[in-house]
């Protein structure tokens, strides 16, 4: 149960949203997927869930790597749990290993017929969607790729909205010269070729920078070139609201500019924005996929839909399962999010609740 009370109008909107079955179930599906992907390590991972060795139990999923030596193997790097399982089974000991459903992580290269090449889907090998050009499990890469893309898009959404809303409201509220100059700046800024900036920036980023920072840089660049769209809606919204009596009342009461903008005007303009959110997510996923497809996106070997799609189109005839899996994964994700967006838009449609006289 929700603890806080929603405004009755919002409650109506939520109820309406739940009535739109297609959107509502899509929403639930996405929530389930995201929750699952948060615990991806428990389902899709090369690390075992539980190892029982010499009477002691180990849970390798999270935390430090456990070197092979721990389990009586002859190497100091991370244990290969699939091999460990076979090893235990062969030696008929009491030791045992429980592996996740998909016992592969998205980075390891698996042999197929003695070489690293794509292998077709196989239930017995537990490569449910096959492997890619260097023998990495596709399901695993899709799953982790989905998680990264989803969270990337969410952070992207929050950042672009924060910047876009703040600047849009300011322009709408202050108007005049500030608005005029701001608008021109935005027009100039929007004409910067985003793709070139990505290429140029990544060619000067020193290689000593870690992958997570590089993902951060990509995110920053994308945000820098995407916040402008939001400002237009917020600017108009703020313009409209500014003329209303309650703003004048707040001003008369001596409220500060910041308070008026963020406390009074903004909440009243936000409703429209909610309807944009799912589409921003769709846009962000598409953008990052496209960048990966072109090779300018997330640094390799980060799992990503775009990279898989590229591999798929390059091996259309020889390994069709790559393109099929990545294509369907992308279609399903984008369709689900788009359905949610559609439903929200409908639920928030003011015509449902307003009677014009």
């Amino acid at each position: 149960m929700l603890k806080f009370k929603l405004n009755p109008l919002t409650e109506k909107k939520v109820a309406r949203f739940r009535q739109i079955k297609r959107g509502y179930y899509s929403f639930l599906a996405i929530v389930v997927l995201v929750v699952f992907s948060l615990g991806a390590e428990l389902f899709v991972n090369s690390r075992a869930l539980v190892v029982s060795y010499e009477g002691e139990w180990y849970f390798p999923t999270y935390g430090e790597i456990i070197p092979g030596e721990t389990f009586g193997l002859d190497y100091s790097y991370e244990t290969n749990y699939r091999e460990l399982k076979e090893h235990f089974e062969r030696s008929n000991s009491d030791n045992w290993v429980v592996l996740p459903i998909v016992p592969y992580d998205p980075y390891e290269n698996n042999e197929y017929e003695g070489v690293f090449k794509p292998s077709p889907p196989s239930v017995s090998e537990r490569h449910f969607l096959g492997t890619d050009t260097t023998g990495r499990d596709i399901l695993s890469r899709l799953f982790y790729g989905f998680r990264i893309a989803m969270f990337f898009s969410l952070v992207f959404l929050v950042l672009t909205y924060l910047i876009g809303i703040a600047i849009g409201c300011l322009m709408g509220y202050f108007g005049g010269i500030f608005d005029l100059v701001g608008q021109r700046m935005i027009e100039i800024w929007s004409n910067m070729p985003f793709l070139y900036v990505v290429i140029i920036v990544f060619s000067v980023v020193p290689s000593s920078i870690s992958n997570s920072v590089r993902i951060g840089i990509l995110l920053t660049i994308m945000v820098m070139f995407s916040w402008m769209g939001m400002t237009y809606y917020m600017r108009t919204g703020a313009y409209k609201e500014k003329a209303r009596d309650y703003v004048a009342a707040a001003e008369a009461l001596g409220a500060s500019t910041a308070r008026i903008i963020f406390k009074h005007i903004m909440p009243n303009t936000l409703a429209t924005l909610v309807t944009f959110m799912p589409f921003t997510i769709v846009g962000a996923i598409t953008a990052v996929t496209a960048l990966d497809f072109l090779g300018f996106g997330l640094p390799p070997p980060t799992p990503s839909l775009g990279e898989l799609l590229k591999q798929g189109t390059d091996n259309l005839t020889t390994a069709p399962w790559i393109v099929v899996s990545s294509f369907f994964a992308l279609v399903v994700i984008l369709t689900l999010v788009a359905f949610v967006g559609e439903a929200i838009r409908e639920a928030f449609d003011p015509k449902k609740f307003t009677i014009y006289k």
Binding site: I65, Y75, Y77, V115, S207, S210, P300
Partner: protein, 686 residues
């Protein structure tokens, strides 16, 4: 010195491969020229004349001093004015030719073309990008289209015989091109050349000694906007002497066993075409096809910008009957089309729209055109593997020893043992490629067979990393030192196609506790990064030139590693930032040496020393090229020549036009032919 990036074009000029060419239809068009152009032509004529009269040749040492700023330009100018140096351009008569010259013409060498070859037909090819210019020099000219214009379509003075590795008393063995014969004066590093009287430009003008004089004016000139060539043509040549229209000699300023190659590879420049040479050269000559010494020309109406270019074979090419040029260049037309996507080009090939495709990559050889592909099975498409022998592009990881930690030899040794290239070769390249052992393989006797690349070994890697203070594994399995610093380096490359092998290397290195952060850039950005020495570890290969002996100065001399103030020197080929005094000494001796045996010995010693420095992790080399081709495409009996980088390099193939028709009809009917998968391993190395 710039050597071009291997993957960028594959071609690239180490030294002086230039051609000249031009096209224009107006030989003596001064009559129709507008006054402005006419004035320009007149001015240039005067400029050339004055240049011939005043240009002097500076000794190479002076050149170096000048470059290093040890001597002022004014001082040199004063010395020039005082008449201290000999003239670069000299004019003499036939009587002045030394009497004791021994004239050679390489006629004892076997012929490379196949007598079975038939002329005719149109061949279809693709390029990924439309060329940005038809010039073969100046801005944007060094792209993947240049081989069509220049490298594969020109006749040098003489050409290295691609089927011999023998080194004779006068260096390697050459067959004549523009030259009818030549004579070598070893003591003075001079080559005398008699031009084949038949030799002519594609516009009909005869090729004369004047075109070679003009070549030097052209290549020295600032107009062409090619500083590298300006420098090389000044530095490596002492001068040219004209004896008569068809006889000249060129003197080289390097006293090396292969000094003749500097002369033989020269391509003349047509003086009559470059009348309007000036500051606007890049734009003015952007889309003009220079008359060529080679067989194929481009007509203006055959250029469809952004789409295609058609090369047409001259009806009566001057070298049609010349030994080693006959039976080659067999197609009447070559239609080169822009196809941006490799995968698409391959599909076109499988549909029969292209005659042949290079399928060296295992992925293509085994998966995309497997032996049991219906087209192969039914004999429509033939497959061939040809093992070649040539200097091997040194694919490998260049460690920048000027970066923190990487200056520690133990760390570098650890990286050597942590790089599992043998696994990549075996499991990814399916054992087809070979492990490279050092950075100068494929130079015959100059390559040290004793130097072997280090094999992957987690134990040894850990041992060396531990020596450098990295003995504990962190929570993610990567080694850390006492302060908790991770053993992590950036591994960069500009080869997007080699992303997969590098991810395997990364995964394997993690087993040895080494973290490699991959960064895959596009070609230009990757090369720039390494040229600015910003890399920690950079994966790339230099072009392998068909040269007699490997170079060390460019890649390993301290002059190319650091500036006098100790900062890193950018835009050089010393990617390891190596500066070792003993090595410098050896390089200098090697550079100055005129003795083959001494050079071989030094070369071996230096390779061993570099191996011990462990700054280059040798990756692999490709000992062959593989081709898939439709049955109407024909190759000589032994397929190709030993020293070839691609099946098309020496233009030895031809087509059976009738058979093409018949084959395409048979394909509709579903006939089958004999399956053909051939391996040509006559030049295979052990």
């Amino acid at each position: 010195m710039k050597i071009d990036y291997y993957a960028r074009s594959g071609l690239s000029l180490g030294l002086i491969f230039l051609l000249s060419a031009c096209s224009s239809k107006d030989e003596d068009a001064s009559a129709e020229m507008d006054p402005e152009t006419l004035a320009k032509v007149e001015a240039l004529r005067a400029e050339v004349k004055e240049y011939y009269e005043t240009k002097v040749s500076l000794p190479p040492e002076l050149f170096e001093d000048l470059e290093a700023g040890r001597i002022e330009q004014e001082v040199v100018d004063a010395r020039i004015a005082a008449g201290e140096f000999p003239r670069f351009f000299q004019f003499k008569s036939l009587e002045d030719l030394p009497a004791d010259l021994v004239w050679e013409d390489g006629s004892d060498l076997p012929e490379i073309g196949s007598p079975d070859a038939v002329k005719g037909g149109t061949v279809y090819g693709t390029v990924q990008d439309f060329p940005r210019t038809l010039r073969t020099i100046g801005p944007d000219s060094n792209g993947s289209f240049r081989p069509f214009l220049l490298d594969y379509n020109s006749v040098p003075i003489a050409k290295l015989h691609p089927n011999t590795t023998e080194i004779g008393p006068n260096g390697q063995l050459y067959f004549p091109g523009i030259a009818k014969e030549w004579a070598i004066d070893k003591a003075n590093q001079t080559v005398y050349v008699r031009i084949d009287p038949k030799a002519s430009w594609s516009d009909g003008e005869p090729i004369t000694a004047d075109d070679y004089l003009f070549m030097f004016f052209f290549m020295h000139s600032k107009y062409i906007k090619a500083p590298w060539y300006n420098n090389a043509y000044n530095r490596y040549f002492k001068g040219i002497t004209k004896f008569d229209d068809l006889t000249f000699s060129i003197r080289v300023s390097v006293d090396k066993p292969d000094f003749t190659s500097y002369v033989f590879s020269l391509n003349p420049r047509p003086e009559h075409f470059y009348g309007e040479l000036g500051d606007d050269f890049p734009e003015r000559y952007q889309w003009r096809f220079e008359p060529t010494t080679g067989p194929y020309v481009v007509e203006e109406e055959d250029i469809r910008k952004g789409e295609s270019i058609v090369f047409t074979r001259q009806k009566d090419w001057w070298a049609d009957d010349k030994r080693n040029y006959r039976h080659r260049f067999n197609y009447d037309k070559k239609r080169i089309q822009v196809v941006r996507d490799n995968a698409k080009a391959f599909e076109m090939f499988k549909k029969g729209e292209l005659d042949a495709a290079t399928i060296s990559l295992p992925e293509y050889w085994y998966e995309k055109l497997p032996d049991d592909d219906p087209l192969v099975e039914d004999g429509y498409i033939k497959k061939a593997v040809f093992y070649n022998q040539r200097p091997r592009p040194p694919f490998g990881m260049w460690i920048n020893t000027a970066k923190p930690l990487l200056d520690n030899k133990d760390i570098r040794l650890g990286i050597q043992y942590a790089s599992n290239w043998d696994l990549v070769i075996e499991k990814y390249f399916r054992g087809d490629y070979q492990r490279l052992n050092h950075s100068s393989e494929g130079y015959g006797q100059f390559s040290n067979p004793e130097v072997k690349a280090r094999k992957f070994s987690v134990e040894k890697a850990l041992e060396y990393f531990a020596k450098a203070g990295f003995s504990e594994r962190g929570p993610d399995g990567i080694l850390v030192d006492g302060d908790g610093k991770k053993l992590s380096f950036g591994l960069t490359t500009g080869y997007t196609t080699l992303k997969d092998p590098l991810t395997i290397i990364k995964e394997e290195a993690a087993k040895a506790g080494l973290d490699l952060r991959l960064q895959i850039l596009d070609n230009t950005a990757g090369f720039k990064l390494a040229q600015e020495k910003q890399h920690e570890i950079h994966f790339m290969a230099w072009s392998g030139f068909p040269e007699m002996y490997p170079r060390f100065w460019d890649f390993y001399h301290s002059l190319n590693a650091f500036e006098p103030d100790g900062s890193l020197k950018t835009q050089t080929n010393n990617l390891n930032s190596l500066a070792i005094p003993e090595l410098d000494e050896m390089i200098e001796t090697y550079r100055a040496s005129t003795d083959v045996d001494e050079m071989i010995k030094l070369s071996h010693e230096m390779q061993l020393m570099l191996h011990e420095e462990a700054a280059f992790v040798p990756a692999f080399y490709i000992p062959f090229y593989r081709v898939g081709y439709w049955r109407w495409r024909k190759y000589p009996e032994d397929f190709n020549v030993m020293n070839s980088e691609a099946a098309s390099e020496y233009s030895l193939s031809w087509m059976d036009v009738e058979e093409k028709k018949a084959t395409l009809e048979a394909l509709k009917r579903g006939d089958t032919f004999e399956k053909s998968i051939k391996i040509y391993d006559q030049y295979k190395e052990d």
